[in-house]
Amino acid sequence: MDQTAARKATTEVPSIPCDAEGPVFREPWEAQAFAMALTLHDRGVFTWPEWAAALAAEIKRAQAAGDPDTGETYYRHWLNTLEGLVAAKGVSTRETLLRYRDAWDHAADRTPHGQPIVLRPDDFR
């Protein structure tokens, strides 16, 4: 996969924040969330029109709930969409994602500052 795939994504999903050269991100996790969507699309889990519709619905929900829609929250909606589609397509369940989220939280808690955070089996409790 290369930049062509990313460019195609920005054409198919025109709301993606971009500069003249392509997507821009406020924080590293946003780029990670972007890369995962790109990869799942590449694997055929969803099409871009499907993604765009799910993301639009997510943004609409957030706005209804009072999201200021200033662009700062764009990748929050992106991440919600990703989790939603992963569950809807049977790739994983929300319960599993939550279990892994808690395990990472535990891993961070027991990792001294400055050490790489690595997930261990006993982080799943």
């Binding site: 799942l40 989220r101 500052h113």
Partner: protein, 208 residues
Amino acid sequence: MTDHDHDHHHDHSELSELELRVRALETVLTEKGYVEPAALDAIIQAYETKIGPHNGAQVVAKAWTDPAFKKALLDDASKAVGTLGHVGRTGDHLVAVENTPQRHNMVVCTLCSCYPWEMLGLPPVWYKAAPYRTRAVKDPRGVLADFGISLPKETEIRVWDSTAETRFLVLPMRPAGTEGWSEQQLADLVTRDSMIGTGFPKTPGAPS
């Protein structure tokens, strides 16, 4: 800091709620064979200059042109950077270390919250690798040689290992031949690697 110190922000790692969810997704998708971490890294690396506000170069350029700011930066980098007004959450416990002909500074840290990505953009892949950290401490000159950097024998190399709560920014030496340059022109010479200490700023006139 002792084992009994449970001051939560200082003695262990922190991941934000969003980072936790992203890591959870990545782990699950990897285990199920949908994504490969190396492939994700490759995509992200393509955007390494597109993440975060990248204000480190501005800070360095300002320090090169404004002696009062430079002094303030070396005294208390968090405070000095805070006065620039465009930095957002950058600057918590930030320490600037100045390169001189006598001393070259180099920063190591495995990837954790102490990497000042707001200033530097994304850390390079090699920076996260355990061998870099280990070798940088034991054989800094060898590591620098790998990056194509050679320093005079008499230059001391100081390696800064990020400790709890401290993040480092290397203030590289201003390149010769830039007298009278504007801050913006100077900022264009400042590379990420020069602010980690594994590179020098670009040379004026050299093709970028």
